[in-house]
C-alpha cells in the first residue's frame, strides 16, 4: 500500500447556528451534536448558542472516526456513535446530506441540520428515506427464503470483509453462496448473474441502504445477517 497522507480540509469560515436552527432547536432539552470533519474543531460557538437556550449538548467519538463529534456516512447503525445517553434530537453541522442521513438510518430521533456555509436550516426524518428502509426490510425477508446468494466483496482495505463473509456458510449451511469481487460495484453487471436470488453487501454499509434500487434482486448488509 502506498503511503497516504490525509488533509482534512478544515473550514476556514465562522461556524455558528442560523436563526432558523436556533428557533427550531429551542423546544429540545438535550441534543446530540455531530459534524463533518471540516467543522469539528469549530463547534465552540455552536455549543455556546445551544447552552444559551438552556439546551444540554452531548456528543461522542463514533467508532470509526478520528475525533470527537465527527460523523461519517457509515455511522448508520444504532451503536455506531458510541453514545450511551439518550437525546431528544440530533444536530448535524455540515453542508451535505450524506453524513446526516446515516443518523436517520441508525437513530430514532429527529435530525436537525445546519449548514454553516449556506446558513441554512433543514430537517431529516425517517420519512425522507422510507423507500430505502422498506426495500431493505423486504430484502432481508427475501434473503432468509432464498437459496442462491451473491456476496459482493470489495478490495478497498477499509471496506474489505472477505474472511468475515465466509461465516455466512457456517450460519446458513443450506444456502449456496457465490462470491463476487469488484472495487466500486458495477450495478449493470449484477444482471449478468441471473442465478443469484439476492445479494449480500460486505462493503460500505450505505450501499445496502442507499443503493437498494440498483440491486434489482435486493441487497442486505452483511452485518444484518451475521453478528
Amino acid at each position: 500500500m502506498v503511503k497516504t497522507i490525509f488533509i482534512e480540509a478544515r473550514y476556514e469560515g465562522k461556524v455558528e447556528l442560523c436563526q432558523d436552527t436556533l428557533e427550531y432547536a429551542k423546544k429540545y432539552k438535550k441534543i446530540g451534536l455531530y459534524a463533518a470533519i471540516q467543522f469539528c474543531n469549530k463547534l465552540d460557538r455552536v455549543n455556546e448558542q445551544l447552552k444559551e437556550l438552556g439546551i444540554e449538548v452531548i456528543t461522542s467519538q463514533p467508532k470509526r472516526t478520528g475525533c470527537s463529534s465527527q460523523l461519517l456516512g457509515c455511522d448508520s447503525a444504532k451503536d455506531s456513535l458510541n453514545l450511551d445517553e439518550e437525546v431528544d434530537a440530533f444536530l448535524y453541522i455540515g453542508d451535505g446530506k450524506f453524513h446526516p442521513q446515516a443518523l436517520v438510518y441508525g437513530q430514532e430521533r429527529e435530525i436537525i441540520c445546519d449548514d454553516p456555509i449556506g446558513k441554512k436550516f433543514s430537517l431529516l426524518t425517517k420519512e425522507d428515506l422510507a423507500a430505502n428502509l422498506k426495500r431493505a426490510k423486504g430484502a432481508l425477508v427475501k434473503f432468509h427464503s432464498s437459496d442462491n446468494i451473491g456476496v459482493v466483496i470489495t478490495m478497498k482495505p477499509g471496506q474489505e470483509f472477505y474472511l468475515k463473509s465466509l461465516e455466512l456458510e457456517k450460519k446458513y449451511p443450506t444456502k449456496k453462496f457465490y462470491y463476487f469481487i469488484d472495487n466500486n460495484i458495477s450495478f449493470n453487471q449484477l444482471e449478468n448473474f441471473p442465478f443469484i436470488d439476492v445479494w449480500v453487501n460486505t462493503a460500505c454499509p450505505r450501499i445496502g441502504l442507499d443503493d437498494q434500487e440498483s440491486f434489482r434482486k435486493g441487497v442486505v448488509n452483511l452485518r444484518n445477517v451475521i453478528s
Binding site: T4, I5, C74, G158
Partner: protein
C-alpha cells in the same frame, strides 16, 4: 473556504522525497486540482497524477498505484479511518 494545507503538502512531498504523487480529492474540491498541481509543480520536482474516481472517505483510497511507481497519495477531505474489526 477550506484549508488545503498546501505548505504541508509541499513539505510532505519533499520530506518523503516523492517522485510520483497521486492527489485524491472529494467532488467538491476536484475543481481545485489544477491549483494544487501548479503549486506542487512550482515547489517540488514530483510528477502529479490526479485520481479521477471516487473519494467516499478514508476507507476509499486508490489501489494498485504502486504498479505505476506512485510513492505518495495525498487525500483531502477526510482523516484517518478506524476500520471496525468484528
Amino acid at each position: 473556504m477550506y484549508d488545503l494545507e498546501l505548505n504541508r503538502v509541499v513539505k510532505e512531498i519533499q520530506d518523503n522525497q516523492a517522485k510520483l504523487v497521486c492527489l485524491q480529492l472529494p467532488d467538491g474540491l476536484k475543481p481545485k486540482a489544477n491549483e494544487i498541481e501548479a503549486r506542487i509543480n512550482s515547489e517540488t520536482s514530483a510528477k502529479v497524477l490526479i485520481w479521477l474516481g471516487s473519494n467516499f472517505g478514508a476507507c476509499d483510497i486508490p489501489l494498485g498505484l504502486d504498479r505505476l511507481g506512485v510513492d505518495l497519495v495525498i487525500s483531502w477531505g477526510h482523516n484517518k479511518f478506524r476500520k471496525e474489526e468484528w
